[in-house]
């Protein structure tokens, strides 16, 4: 694995590894690790770092919905144009163009069901290119970004074995 791939792989595993630990694990110099991270960020390969949060553990559990959108295009309007307008809303946590039965998939997050509904009906549905929206509320999250929220804790192994 080259340095870039090795560092990226480790950051995707745990973005909070210190550069010193990244250096130890990869056998690279710490300065090389720092340069590699800087380059990954500058090139936009690493767009950011966030925590993986189990929403059920929050005092105020936010409401999440998966929203399917169908659109019609015309000569002046591309998928990219519509995506730009949708992505600008802070309620939209992720936005993807899909193959299959619908065009865009949005993950919408807000404080309450009412807020999500209002957002979809007042901000998304009225866009002239949007022909239909279907909103699915998330009921429970078991796994996100490779982290299991339902995993049983603890090491079952005996502490000394040959």
């Amino acid at each position: 694995m080259d340095e870039r791939a090795a560092v990226l792989d480790l950051l995707r595993e745990n973005a909070r590894y210190t550069t010193a630990d990244l250096a130890r694990m990869t056998g690279l110099d710490e300065s090389v690790v720092e340069e590699t991270i800087a380059a990954l960020e500058a090139d936009g390969v690493v767009a950011g770092y966030t925590a993986v949060v189990d929403p059920a553990k929050l005092d105020d559990e936010p409401v999440r919905a998966h929203v399917e959108c169908n659109v019609t295009l015309d000569r002046e309007t591309s998928y990219g144009d519509i995506a730009k307008r949708l992505a600008g809303f802070p309620e939209v946590a992720s936005l993807r163009l899909m193959s299959g039965d619908y065009d865009f998939a949005l993950d919408v997050e807000a404080d309450s069901m009412g807020e999500v509904s209002r957002f979809v009906s007042e901000k998304v549905a009225p866009l002239p290119e949007i022909t239909q929206t279907v909103t699915h509320y998330v009921m429970e999250t078991y796994k996100e970004s490779n982290h299991r929220f339902d995993a049983e804790e603890g090491d079952e192994r005996i502490s000394y074995s040959p």
């Binding site: 630990d21 130890r24 694990m25 990869t26 090491d155 005996i158 502490s159 000394y160 074995s161 040959p162």
Partner: protein
């Protein structure tokens, strides 16, 4: 106890209790122990293999298999070991056992006559010496040394008097040192065994966990196949310790002898585990690769931390162990005090025989979080 006719045999009485037992008992009483004392993977068995085991149970595939194991499994094993240049006939030259442990024990009993001398490259996995004794043989420790990076050499074999041994057993990649042997180094051992007509038991259970270069099996060297039994299994590479599955590879008459014992003592290896193993060999190669990548990073991490603390450690290149010098001359005392004061479990090297004194076995088959915590605690302990 003297009142009862139930008395241990002389053979059993001659084998001392495991050296790590007392540590285990102390650690069991403590919370918050971070253990580097564990000789098994921290990963669960690859998911597909677990699913295959469940599926086999649901289909009711819970009867005995052929003594030597399911034909489908032996065929896959034959295919799998070709990656090391090993060619074995699935019909006559492979036997599937309840862990490599059973294969090793049965092989001692199949090959050793009372009083036979069995050379054991040490430090070594703890079951060889008792296995030889239970079979009525005489263990002959062959000490490997830190200055040779714990590889077996002609010089060490001669110094121990191994030229008179009937049998030699070793394991590389090694538990507890993490040492591996190159093809050239093995050639020297092979030549010695041919010269003195010594049979070899090569425990290659950690073969898949080789981080620098490729694993070489001594059975691929000239004149060695006919005098070697190779052991491997699913415990380490596929994180299947609790499923208890291993195998031996050897010429037909040796497999016959091992099977003579196995068919009466075990009948057949666990059926559910055999189904899991078939799936493991068919579809879990990428899981093994991923685990290897993780172990390798942890190995680098632990070696770097030990080096920064000023603890001497040769660069272990296989299995999931490092074998640093103990910071105190008495490794047992160090391990015990470290456990008491910082709740970090490591194993003193003398538990693995001669040559292990003054060293510590640390397993890096633990999460990065645990390894970091353990290293931080050891550093604090040394201050």
């Amino acid at each position: 106890m003297s009142e009862t006719p139930l008395q241990p045999s002389d053979r059993v009485a001659s084998v001392p209790e495991s050296g790590i037992r007392r540590f285990f008992e102390v650690a069991a009483e403590m919370d918050d122990v971070v253990s580097l004392g564990v000789g098994e993977p921290d990963f669960a068995t690859p998911y597909r293999a677990r699913e295959a085991a469940i599926d086999s149970l649901q289909r009711g595939q819970t009867s005995y298999t052929a003594n030597k194991g399911m034909v489908e499994l032996r065929e896959r094993i034959a295919d799998h070991v070709t990656r090391y240049g090993l060619e074995y006939d699935p019909g006559e030259e492979i036997i599937v056992t309840a862990g490599a442990s059973e294969a090793i024990d049965a092989t001692f009993r199949a090959l050793v006559n009372p009083g036979d001398s069995v050379a054991i490259a040490q430090p070594a996995y703890v079951s060889y010496e008792p296995g030889v004794r239970f079979a009525g043989g005489e263990p002959l420790p062959v000490e490997t040394r830190a200055e040779d990076e714990f590889v077996l050499t002609r010089e060490r074999l001669e110094a121990a008097g191994a030229q008179d041994a009937e049998l030699l057993i070793y394991c590389y990649p090694n538990n507890p040192t993490g040492a591996t042997m190159t093809e050239d180094e093995l050639r020297e051992v092979a030549a010695f065994c041919r010269e003195h007509d010594i049979a070899v038991m090569a425990d290659e259970i950690y073969a898949a966990l080789t981080y620098e270069g490729d694993h070489t099996s001594i059975a691929t060297l000239p004149g060695m196949r006919e005098r070697t039994v190779v052991f491997n299994g699913f415990s380490k590479a596929y994180a299947m310790t609790g499923l208890r599955l291993g195998y031996a590879l050897a010429p037909p008459h040796v497999i016959d002898s091992i099977n003579r014992i196995h068919q009466y003592s075990m009948l057949s290896a666990p059926t559910t585990a055999q189904h899991a193993a078939i799936e493991a060999l068919d579809n879990c190669g990428s899981d093994v690769e991923e685990m290897c990548t993780q172990y390798d990073r942890r190995r680098n991490f632990v070696l770097a931390r030990l080096d920064e603390m000023g603890i001497d450690c040769f660069e272990a290149t296989g299995a999931f162990y490092v074998f640093p010098e103990s910071p105190w001359p008495d490794a047992g005392e160090f391990a015990e005090t470290l456990l008491q004061e910082e709740q970090v479990a490591v194993v003193p090297g003398d538990a693995f025989g001669t040559g292990g004194e003054g060293h510590l076995r640390m397993s890096y088959a633990s999460s990065m979080d645990d390894l970091r915590t353990a290293m931080d605690r050891i550093e604090r302990f040394l201050e």
